[in-house]
């Protein structure tokens, strides 16, 4: 209590130092006056009386100082004084201050920006409450193709998990749906996420306006209600709050808007709007087992672990297998089970290694920056060592001296942090604008949230320790005597510390360069991979078909033909195009073979119109392409690719052989063998075969189809409009962009690594330059003596450059050792490239050495221009 009271009045007093000082001086004057009068009364001479009074009172300034210490917050006052002093001192050295603040800002900015993205992608996905409690329900087939992680599950599994409330607080399913919105000036494509009623509860997302679905609305044929995403609301409805209750036309049917979500969760399922999933009892019936078409998320009850969910799901899986549901007997031999996957892994995908690699890279930049700043501080303190020693000699305590140095570091750190946060924000915004959306994990925003700020604070603290403590420790050890007598020895010790720092910087920069170089080589190699088709000048677009109007294959075929008639001859329709996401796959049986021996008869499946192979310039190795002959009513014809031919008919001619797709009653004859093409990734060829069906021959309704043409987007739009004015195309993209887009995350990683390598190189060059030029300054006298004794200017420059080169080469050796340690991690991100590729490494080393020589060259030239006479005289 007493302590608190004193603290409060101390703080109050700290703000009125001068007034309080005046009060005490006047009190002291009165006091001494009274003492003097008393002495005079006792018979002293006035002068003597005053002298005695002053003696009796003691030193007024000392009393004043003690009162001040008693009264205010002396440490704080001293500290603010230090800060003011430091600010003035820094302003007097703008070059030094600016380079420290800039270096810090660049390093912190890069770190903050990258961390913010990593945090949003891996640790705290945007808009989602406690993501660590959310799991995705997956299915595993150990013995069916490579379906070890099926991202979807079936209706009955979803229903069973939703019923298990003791483990799962909320469970919800999502299924995508393409829609055409016909309320605007022209038909527009919208992507709907059909979700069960608890979807928003699982994610912990709240609506901005209105409400979300009730369980009653999540029933078949009940509610035609829709919830809009924030961006749909703002883009298509002008952010009009009166949309609630409005009816909109989707696929020519009326839906009522009941809510608008806050931004943040629409990236799951890329939802423009949400509709109720409305599963029927048949959808969750036993015959639906093993029909995996729902993306299911569950929120674990607080305190439960993913392992507990896993145990329950495994038990449940074995119950399903023994329950006798349709398909259970066949599935039992396939090592099938259901398992949970953490939400972040499931939704974001495996971006962990590349993002952590990036984080390591920015961390290295931060280390280099710290080393650099430490070097600058050392040099500055060295220059001020005389001043500090003088202050020490005049009685400043070591603590005060440390405080002075610390205040300066703190001020620099403060400015650097502020500038760094600004840079980070700008950097994130440009990054997100500059990098196409598809190339980054989804759902990222430029934001500085609490986690990011905490990270930055930690980074600053670490940096501060690295760049602040070392110099402060060295400089607080000064004593006047040491500085005056043996100054040169201290200086040389300091120089050694700085040289070590520079060697470290060079080593780390080399590590980054070698890493970036390896990524670059790998990228170049990937760009040269031939996908098996010619993407040049090919435009692609998608189109969706509302089930209400396209309810039989004939209508759809008629639409295709009407549309293709208005496009160039080598245009085609296909169930999907390469590099546009997943491809369908399916099983088949081969006539005359039993399925028990041989590889599983399963392949990627694509339905194409006749001109597909022409449009993409896919070579036909044997047989013929599809033609107008292949239509409903003629003999079923299929084309297989070279991989499939090799897998099922090795050494045989597959032409004329027959196969029957599962679910089809007719046998189909192989009429052609096409070249194998890559489906989704230049770096990864699944090696699976592809089976092509003639689009017009198989009586199937497609909800979505793709158009490939050498014509323009406008030509596609016009052709579609003439075939059906209420249809809209979407996802228009050149095929070349799609292929390039598949390298997006690699390109992004490469660009980031390359930028960090450049920043690191620049910073370490700066560090080297600082050390060498400082050394030249210190050795002026020595250089003067050498030159006076006849050393040539060239020899002097060479000596200086050699010093820089020596540091750089030690750095190279150390850097190569570090790179060797990290090689394994980096190589996991490479495509047929190694970290220790001779060419990459030698280029990196050459660049580093060249930069080191350049950085030492300028100080060397200055050294060579030393005038021996003036150098000797100035000492």
């Amino acid at each position: 209590m007493k302590f608190l009271r004193r603290l409060v009045s101390r703080i109050a007093a700290a703000f009125s130092i001068h007034r309080e000082d005046r009060r005490f001086s006047s009190e002291f004057d009165t006091h001494i006056d009274l003492l003097t009068q008393e002495n005079i009364r006792a018979g002293m001479e006035p002068a003597e009386a005053h002298r005695q009074a002053a003696l009796k009172f003691g030193t007024p300034s000392l009393a004043l100082e003690t009162c001040r210490e008693q009264r205010g917050l002396p440490r704080l006052e001293a500290f603010t004084r230090d800060l003011r002093h430091a600010f003035r001192a820094l302003r007097k050295a703008p070059g030094f201050s600016l380079s420290v603040v800039l270096t810090l800002a660049i390093a912190l900015g890069a770190n903050t920006a990258i961390f913010s993205l990593v945090n949003q992608a891996l640790l705290h996905p945007n808009g989602i409450d406690h993501p660590e409690r959310i799991i995705s329900i997956r299915e595993h087939y150990g013995k069916l193709l490579n379906l070890t992680d099926l991202g979807a599950t079936s209706g009955p599994v979803f229903a069973a998990i939703r019923a298990e409330r003791s483990l799962f607080e909320h469970t919800a399913a999502l299924s995508g749906l393409y829609l055409t919105y016909t309320g605007g000036s022209r038909p527009e494509h919208l992507q709907a996420a059909q979700v069960s009623s608890e979807w928003f509860d699982v994610l912990g997302a709240k609506p901005l306006l209105g409400r979300t679905f009730t369980p009653e609305e999540d029933q078949p044929n009940v509610g035609r209600v829709a919830v809009l995403s924030y961006s749909t609301w703002t883009k298509r409805f002008g952010a009009d709050p009166s949309v609630l209750g409005r009816t909109i036309e989707l696929d020519l049917q009326p839906w009522t808007i009941i809510g608008v979500m806050k931004p943040g969760i629409e990236w799951l399922g890329e939802a423009d709007l949400w509709l109720p999933l409305a599963l029927s009892s048949a959808d969750i019936g036993p015959q639906e087992n093993f029909h995996q078409h729902l993306f299911v998320l569950a929120r674990l009850r607080p305190g439960l672990l993913q392992a507990q969910a896993n145990a329950w799901l495994r038990l449940f899986s074995s119950r399903v297998l023994t329950s006798g549901v349709p398909g259970a007997k066949d599935t039992a031999s396939l090592d099938w089970y259901i398992f949970p996957k953490s939400f972040v892994n499931a939704a974001i995908g495996d971006t962990r290694t590349p993002t952590l690699l990036l984080l390591a890279a920015v961390g290295i930049v931060l280390l280099i920056a710290s080393a650099n700043i430490a070097g600058l501080m050392l040099a500055r303190n060295a220059m001020r060592s005389n001043e500090l020693a003088l202050q020490a000699a005049l009685g400043a305590s070591r603590g005060r001296l440390l405080g002075r140095v610390a205040a300066e570091s703190l001020l620099l750190a403060g400015f650097g942090t502020a500038a760094g946060l600004g840079l980070a924000w700008i950097g994130m915004r440009t990054l997100l604008l500059w990098v196409p959306k598809t190339e980054l994990p989804r759902g990222l925003n430029a934001q500085l949230d609490i986690y990011t700020l905490a990270f930055t604070a930690a980074a600053v603290a670490i940096t501060g320790v690295l760049f602040g403590i070392l110099p402060a420790w060295q400089s607080s050890a000064v004593s006047f005597a040491a500085s005056a007598n043996a100054g040169s020895r201290i200086v040389s010790a300091r120089q050694k510390t700085r040289s070590t720092l520079v060697v470290l910087e060079a080593a780390l920069a080399l590590v980054l360069m070698v890493g970036a170089g390896a990524l670059l080589r790998s990228f170049i190699q990937l760009e040269q991979v031939h996908p098996g088709f010619d993407a040049r000048r090919v435009m692609t677009a998608s189109i969706s078909f509302p089930a209400s109007r396209y309810n039989n294959p004939q209508t759809q075929s008629a639409f295709y033909q009407a549309m293709l008639d208005r496009l160039p001859a080598d245009s085609a329709i296909a169930s999907d195009v390469p590099f546009s996401g997943g491809i369908n796959s399916g099983g088949f049986e081969i006539r005359g073979r039993t399925s028990s021996n041989g590889p599983p008869t399963h392949a990627d499946v694509r339905y194409v119109s006749p001109a597909f192979f022409d449009a993409l310039h896919i070579p036909l190795k044997r047989g013929r392409a599809f033609s107008a002959v292949d239509r409903i009513g003629t003999e079923c014809a299929v084309i297989i690719d070279a991989n499939m031919a090799g897998q099922f008919w090795p050494g045989e001619d597959p032409i004329g052989k027959q196969l029957r797709p599962i679910g089809l009653s007719r046998w189909c004859t192989i009429v052609g063998v096409a070249g194998h093409i890559l489906q989704s990734d230049l770096a990864l060829d699944s090696g699976r075969g592809t089976l092509y069906y003639a689009l017009y021959q198989i009586p199937r309704i497609f909800p979505v189809a793709s158009i490939v043409t050498h014509g323009s987007t406008d030509a596609i739009r016009a052709a579609v409009a003439s075939a059906d004015p209420s249809e809209a195309i979407f996802d228009t993209k050149s095929l070349a962009d799609r292929v390039a887009g598949s390298l997006g995350s690699r390109r992004f990683l490469l660009q980031m690594m390359a930028s960090f390598a450049i920043v690191a190189l620049f910073l370490s060059a700066l560090g080297l330059y600082g050390v060498i030029s400082y050394a030249v300054g210190q050795r002026r006298r020595e250089i003067g003596v050498r030159m006076a004794l006849g050393a040539q200017r060239v020899a002097v420059s060479r000596m200086i450059v050699a010093e820089g080169l020596r540091l750089a080469l030690i750095g190279v050796a150390l850097g190569l050792a570090i790179a060797a340690g990290l090689a394994h991690t980096i190589e996991s991100q490479l495509y047929e490239a190694r970290v220790f590729d001779m060419r990459t490494v030698s280029i990196a080393v050459t660049i580093l050495v060249a930069v080191a020589v350049a950085a030492s060259f300028f100080p060397a030239r200055r050294a060579a221009s030393v005038d021996p006479m003036s150098a000797l005289r100035c000492e």
Binding site: R5, T30, L34, K56, T59, A63, R71
Partner: protein, 99 residues
């Protein structure tokens, strides 16, 4: 000592307190008057005394200190503690002189 002075004499300025302390001490206490002020600051911060401007006998502005209720309580507590300490110490010394 400051508190007893103020309790006995009522409001006093710094000089008055110093004089009184010296007088009570009977010459055994001879202090630098300047050292009194930090003590006053501390007591004022603790709320044991308060101060206000007034005019001294030599017609100068002076600050007069007076004891507060909290100060009286503190004084009483200090006095008890002191008496307690001296009593216990007295017993020890008594023991020693007996032995």
């Amino acid at each position: 000592m400051v508190l007893t002075t103020l309790e006995v004499l009522g409001p006093q300025h710094g000089y008055g307190i110093a004089k009184r302390v010296e007088q009570t001490g009977g010459g055994a206490i001879d202090i630098n008057h300047g050292t009194l002020y930090p003590v006053l600051v501390k007591l004022e911060q603790e709320g044991a005394i308060r101060s206000e401007w007034g005019v001294s006998e030599n017609n100068r502005k002076a600050r007069f200190y007076s004891i507060t209720r909290a100060g009286r309580k503190q004084l009483l507590a200090e006095q008890r503690r002191w008496e307690e300490t001296t009593r216990i110490m007295g017993q020890f010394f008594a023991l020693r002189s007996k032995a």
